[in-house]
């Protein structure tokens, strides 16, 4: 069986799974799986760029996804009236000052000889800078957050069309990735994993706490969206007629239609990114990246600047994740920093990449859909399984209750098992790297 036939069968298989879900559960569920599957596929693509091309083990994907979500807020929400005047300038000023302090410390560190004087100066600069920063920052933040905290209490955004937020998410993620990569990419594999995990935790902690930026855990709701609102559709006469003609009631039809619009938009983005990734893979640049991955020492000996290349890939992969994050937040319609759970979701993406086929773009996309489907369907399937297992038991029996309740925890267990089984028996994944 040739590769393309086999791959088509895989994708057809996944499509079939989703369609079956539509029939057995509901079309809304199926479309929900499809949409999130599309987003996951993009994230898997981004991770695969880093792992498959460069062998970088990034466990901090969630941080970049969160940044994408933040970008959505910063780009598309209207600016909070009065917030900028109250504290905007001071906050920016404080941040610039903070950055300048760090830069000054770094300059001192690199340009002075190691000595007590250097240590004192750096320490002094940092301490003074810190207190000045706080002195400027805290009151400004307080003023901003005082403005109608129930509804806003933050700076707001630029009020631009929401579709611009998606590339903006990519850019924001790329910028942060560049900073992180500059510092962390020299580290060895395990250390890089822990460092990236830590940084994503910090990013999410910042988002949860800096209310002036994104309302923190108060969440930003009512994000503008590229698709019509269901309620509007439901009161649109023409729409109702079309829906009834097709055999759907207006409510269901409106939700389905909105989801389909998103699906269309997401697919376009996925296709664009996929094509770009494929072309990169087969380009001389892509071949060089993989040569570096396979033998770093030899590549360095040949004059390739390995760290710079790794940085490129790190930034690109993170940018892709940022775009996906922006898309995800748009789909949700709200920014909820509390729901970003770094390790869990990151882990899921990794399972996608590995099961699908690490080092292969198509494989990552396939993995994205398949694993996401599995993740959603484990719970209902597990429920059925448990009902079967506890069939013979009396109602109210503690084991029965316990088993039925614990279905919710089966998801992670199943995913872990899938990962281990694939790594052991089929480590190259479904669609292996060529």
């Amino acid at each position: 069986m040739s590769d393309s036939v086999r791959n088509t069968m895989y994708f057809a298989g996944v499509a079939l799974l989703i369609v079956i879900t539509g029939f057995v559960q509901s079309w809304n569920t199926a479309l929900f799986i499809l949409n999130f599957g599309l987003i996951s596929a993009i994230m898997a693509l981004g991770v695969n760029l880093q792992w498959g091309f460069a062998g970088l083990f990034n466990v901090g994907i969630m941080g970049f996804v969160a940044l994408g979500g933040l970008a959505t807020v910063l780009v598309s929400m209207p600016a909070t009236p009065g917030a900028w005047q109250a504290g905007g300038a001071s906050v920016i000023g404080a941040l610039v000052l903070g950055a300048a302090t760090v830069v000054a410390a770094v300059i001192l560190m690199t340009n002075m000889k190691a000595s007590k004087l250097r240590s004192f100066s750096v320490f002094g600069v940092l301490v003074v800078g810190f207190f000045v920063y706080r002195g400027l920052f805290d009151p400004a933040v307080g003023l901003i957050e005082e403005i109608d905290p129930a509804a806003t209490g933050y700076l707001g955004g630029l009020g631009l069309p929401v579709l611009l937020a998606w590339p903006a998410g990519g850019l924001l993620a790329a910028a942060v990735a560049w900073l992180i990569g500059k510092t962390a990419l020299g580290l060895r594999s395990d250390y890089l994993a822990i460092a990236t995990l830590g940084i994503s935790e910090i990013i999410i902690a910042v988002m949860k706490n800096e209310d002036w930026l994104g309302r923190g855990v108060k969440n930003v709701v009512g994000l503008p969206r590229p698709a019509p609102y269901e309620v509007d559709l439901q009161s649109n006469a023409a729409f109702i007629e079309r829906a009834n003609g097709l055999g759907f009631d207006a409510v269901t039809a409106s939700t389905l239609w909105v989801k389909l619009i998103y699906a269309g938009l997401f697919t376009v983005v996925l296709v664009i990114l996929f094509v770009m990734a494929q072309r990169a893979l087969h380009s001389p640049w892509g071949r060089m990246m993989r040569a570096i991955r396979d033998n770093e020492f030899a590549a360095e000996a040949m004059g390739k600047n390995v760290t710079a290349r790794h940085l490129q890939i790190f930034v690109l992969g993170s940018a892709v994740c940022g775009i996906a994050g922006a898309m995800m937040t748009t789909l949700d319609g709200q920014l909820t920093p509390g729901t970003y759970q770094p390790l869990r979701f990151t882990f899921l993406i990794w399972v996608m990449v590995i099961v699908g086929g690490s080092g292969n773009n198509l494989g990552s996309v396939l993995g994205g859909f398949l694993i996401w489907w599995l993740w959603v369907m484990v719970e209902p399937m597990g429920s059925v399984l448990m009902k079967f297992v506890t069939y013979g038991m009396a109602d109210g029996y503690w084991l029965k209750d316990h088993l039925l309740e614990s279905v919710a925890h089966m998801r992670l267990l199943t995913m872990g098992l899938v990962l281990l089984l694939v790594l052991r028996f089929s480590p190259r994944g479904l669609i292996p790297e060529k």
Binding site: D138, D190, F347, W350, H409, L413, G416, L420
Partner: protein, 337 residues
């Protein structure tokens, strides 16, 4: 003078005692991580959930004992149950080693592969623990709550500030000290312990010297299981047991091990206390202590909190990153793979 005493008491109550206690828990966790790194040569992401598993087994046995009416007087019954928890955890880690890690070890797989595998094990364990005991908070401590409570202290000393020294904090410190002494005695004075250090130092030469690698691996896992169970149980007694917590604890534990120097047991302990003290001190509102110590006119109106408590975990990371950038082998010059 009284002011300084009050300041010191407040400091002890809110900073010193909690930090020492937390530091001991992190140190025990970091010891497990560092041993695995030094001897098995990979970062075991599943360690946090191994701690959860160990604590869970101890809790189940504790409940059993409590239902049988067995108790340990003023000390928590969990201490009696802990050996059983340790045994169960030993079984678990040996099982995962035999059926998961050994395959990759024999293949001489890259360390990063083992890390990914340990991620898988982590989630299976996480799911398993929640499956068995549920995701909620579990209470299992009993016995005397305080060695000395705030009220007793104030009555005793007549100071304005009170000091509370919980039993669990005391047990944590005592147990940690005992465990560390035992571990260091084992590593430095017994033949098996020395062979483990040799294996960690220079694998080829150790093999040449006739040291049996399978035995070293076995003993390592047994010790790690014990450390993880003890650390997890103590943390659960002192703060609370919630499966989710251990996922979060993984990160400071790793930070502690790396800061101290991966592969160095002494480093793990130093790292544990460094991280604990930093977390507590940087997020503590110093206003109270400052008010006692400085003259009235200088008394601060703000909380004098360097970073808000929400950033507690961020602190360990920032320290970790600073160490990784400037002294990647850690305080005690461990190894880097």
């Amino acid at each position: 003078m009284i002011d300084f005493l009050n300041a010191f008491v407040a400091l002890s109550n809110f900073v010193l005692i909690p930090a020492i206690s937390y530091g001991a828990q992190l140190a025990l966790g970091a010891l497990g991580v560092t041993l695995i790194y030094g001897i098995l040569r990979f970062s075991n992401f599943a360690h946090g959930d191994t701690m959860a598993f160990g604590a869970m087994c101890t809790i189940l046995v504790t409940w059993l004992f409590q239902s049988w009416g067995i108790s340990f007087g003023p000390l928590p019954t969990a201490l009696l149950a802990m050996p059983f928890g340790i045994l169960a955890t030993m079984g678990l880690v040996l099982f995962t080693d035999r059926y998961v890690y050994k395959f990759y070890r024999d293949q001489k797989a890259k360390p990063v592969i083992l890390v990914i595998v340990s991620l898988g094990v982590m989630f299976i364990l996480n799911g398993l623990v929640r499956f068995i005991i549920g995701p909620n908070d579990q209470r299992f401590s009993d016995g005397e709550r305080f060695i000395i409570s705030v009220r007793e202290f104030k009555a005793l000393t007549g100071l304005k500030e009170g000091l509370a020294f919980k039993t669990t904090q005391g047990i944590t410190i005592v147990t940690a000290v005992i465990v560390v002494i035992a571990l260091f005695w084992f590593l430095n004075r017994t033949r098996t312990g020395k062979s483990m250090r040799a294996y960690s130092d220079n694998e080829d030469l150790a093999l040449l010297s006739g040291i049996n690698p399978e035995r070293v691996v076995l003993v390592t896992w047994l010790i790690v299981a014990a450390l993880a169970t003890i650390a997890g149980t103590l943390y659960g007694l002192d703060k609370s047991f919630k499966p989710f917590i251990f996922l979060q604890l993984l990160l400071p534990v790793f930070a502690a091990a790396i800061v101290g120097g991966l592969g160095s047991p002494l480093g793990a302990i130093a790292g544990g206390f460094t991280i604990a003290f930093s977390e507590v001190m940087i997020t503590y509102a110093w206003k109270k202590v400052a008010t006692y110590v400085v003259p009235e006119s200088w008394a601060p109106d703000t909380l004098v909190q360097l970073l808000s408590t929400d950033y507690k975990f961020a602190v360990s990371f920032v320290i970790l990153i600073i160490v990784l950038l400037f002294r990647p082998t850690g305080l005690f010059a461990g190894k880097s793979v």
